[in-house]
Amino acid sequence: MSVPGSLNWFARHEMRLAWRDALSMMTAGRRNRERMVVVGVVIFASFMHVVAVLALGRLGKVGVVPSLQTLIYVTAAAFLSGSAMLSQAMESVTRTFYSRSDLELILSSPIDAGRLFAVRIGAIALSVSVMSLFLIGPFIDVLAWRGGLRWLGAYGAIAAVSLVATALAVIMTVTLFQTVGPKRTRLAAQIAAAVIGGLFVIGLQMAAMFSTGTMSRLAFLQSKTVVAHMPNIHSAFWWPARGALGDLGCLAAFFGASAALFLVVTAIYAPRFADCAIAAAGTSLGAVRKSSVDRPFRVKSPAATLRRKERLLLIRDPWLVSQSLMQLLYLLPPTVLLWRSFTFEGGVAVILVPVLIMSAGQLAGGLAWLTVSGEDAPDLVETAPIPKSRLLRAKIAAVLECIGIIFSPFVLALAFVSPDKAIVATVGIFASAMSAATIQLWFRSQAKRSQFRRRHTSSRIATFSEAFTSIAWAATGTVAAAGSWLAAVVALFALGILGFVWLFSPVRTQARLATRKSRGVLAARIS
């Protein structure tokens, strides 16, 4: 039995909550689905191991005597996963400040809240490393199987990177909190997390395009310029990479330094978390936001009214805007590519078409969730004297309007380079956005807009099908942009995915039940 209020006691409490939360997320809150989750995890892990065998099976021997290039690759991979971990940890730290769930209880109790926050910082480090291990673990396993047990050192390296990432996230978020204040930190940290998450991979991609003129990051890392600017092969800079490649001495040094940094940061910053949480709680009592423009009162048609409402709600919620537009960050490399094609050479437009189509699908999915499922006044809208079909059409129109506004500059720029590919992109963007919106309609479930981040938990089928249809439409766009009639076949495949998804949609089930019921009523009347 642990003493109430001790670190151990808080850790047990947090573990229990985290486990139940994770289970609820994986089962979408439904009972008796734990076994399905276990089966799903096993299938996913097996699939990832197969992918790892196909991708890395022959690379097991790499690093017996690591070359500078190998060290560069491994270090780049560590930076890549480190930036993703840092991004995830920043989001988690921000959530700790702003989530109200049990903070008022803890802060009003006579217990040292610093201990709870120390445990929560530890939990963040654990969760970011578990997420990475889940994705990278199969690759390490395959390397260990083919190249020897020394590869298992990579697990230790990942744990060390997660400790460093969490410590940095804590320092950066608390500093942000103290610099820009509790009101703006949530949004600022959100944007910073997104930028950090994508910065390394996008930066590498853009550097590759400027130096080698291609999208290949590997080619850039192999280039003479990069190798020439790197530290000497015997430098301590490479210890983490050497540790990941099985050098136990380097691994111990890297892990020890990371753990020390983590413990020092936790000891210094955990007691400050309580102040931050109290300051964050005070923001809800902050200044009243008035309408900046005294707009005349004007009633429009129901459809226009709905579209305007969706627009206003989105524009006035910067957090939601940053969440929705985060994926557009990844449009940066193709944009640079487009800009380069103006000045250097043509023929790259074909790369842009699928990127635009896929981004449009993903963005439309998020926006459609907001308008269709994330309705904060569902009763009001449902009791309005408007047929449901018209209501939903207006909501989808609002989504398409947003997509049009966001993607038209890209398509227009593309039209200057290649008009026919711009047409392909336009059709693809429309198809992809409509497919994503349709899936959201089929799988709609009432929720608050503030639950946007957890929208994927309501239906895994919707999440995956949304991604698959976007990919299928992007593939259609690629083939069409290359001028092949096979695009029609790929488009049929995309439609086939939609048809397949329809079979599992709750809307279809409800429609079938309603038909059965009306048949039953009819039969009863006849008899």
């Binding site: 809800s284 009592l285 902050g286 009243v288 936001r289 008035k290 309408s291 005294d294 009162f297 004007r298 009633v299 429009k300 048609s301 129901p302 226009a304 009214t305 709905l306 305007r308 409402k309 206003l312 709600l313 006035r316 919620d317 904060d376 006044a377 569902p378 009763d379 009001l380 809208v381 449902e382 009791t383 309005a384 004297p385 408007i386 047929p387």
Partner: protein
Amino acid sequence: MYQDKIVPALEIQGLCKRYERPAVDGLDLRVRAGEFYMLLGPNGAGKTTTLRMVSGLLQPDDGAIAVFGIDSLADPVAAKRITGWLSDEPMIYDKLTPIEYLEFVAGLWSVETALAKSRAEELLAWLGLEKHAQERCEQFSRGMRQKVALAGALVHDPKLIILDEPLTGLDAGSARLVKNVLTERVRAGNTVIMTTHILEIAERMADRIGVISSGRLIAEGTLAELRDRVGQGDATLEEMFLTIVEQDLAAA
């Protein structure tokens, strides 16, 4: 006007809704036009389910609902046009101001601009919200949010106003404002159907009271009629309500 007095504001026949057990079980109910009707019942009696079916928020398993003679299952849009709904949980948009919210509601009900504007201003003034008309609702207290939602339910001047526990969480001042607005509406000829657990309010405001239990109407009438029914001449509504519900449970 004469027609309104003849046709009931709400007529429910054999209404059924079943979840794991019957929530509403063959309910028959008739509410006259222009009256203030209170629907009472213990927790889980089926009050909210009934009102949600009347408002078009739930599909009944069986039965018929007519709002001022309009079959609301066959022509829900026509029925919704003359109905206003307010739930106990104020559902408004945090990022809109009260005036923008009312403009939105007026748009959904296709109210003409000038009329909607004057009604919106009048309602906000009645409810003491005119000073906050241009402020976003995100900082509003629960009482203010409920008043904004009530203004939304009234801005299209519905003939039938349905309110599910509208006074929950309101302070005494706000509750009085809401009650005054509703009484005013009934005086103006609108019909109000309301559920509440505050029996003193039902006692003071209702023209007629219906008591529902296990999805069925077990008693109905004016205060005097209910007193006659339980045989307690000077009983309060609370005493009558408890007696009626206990008698029903004993009979079951």
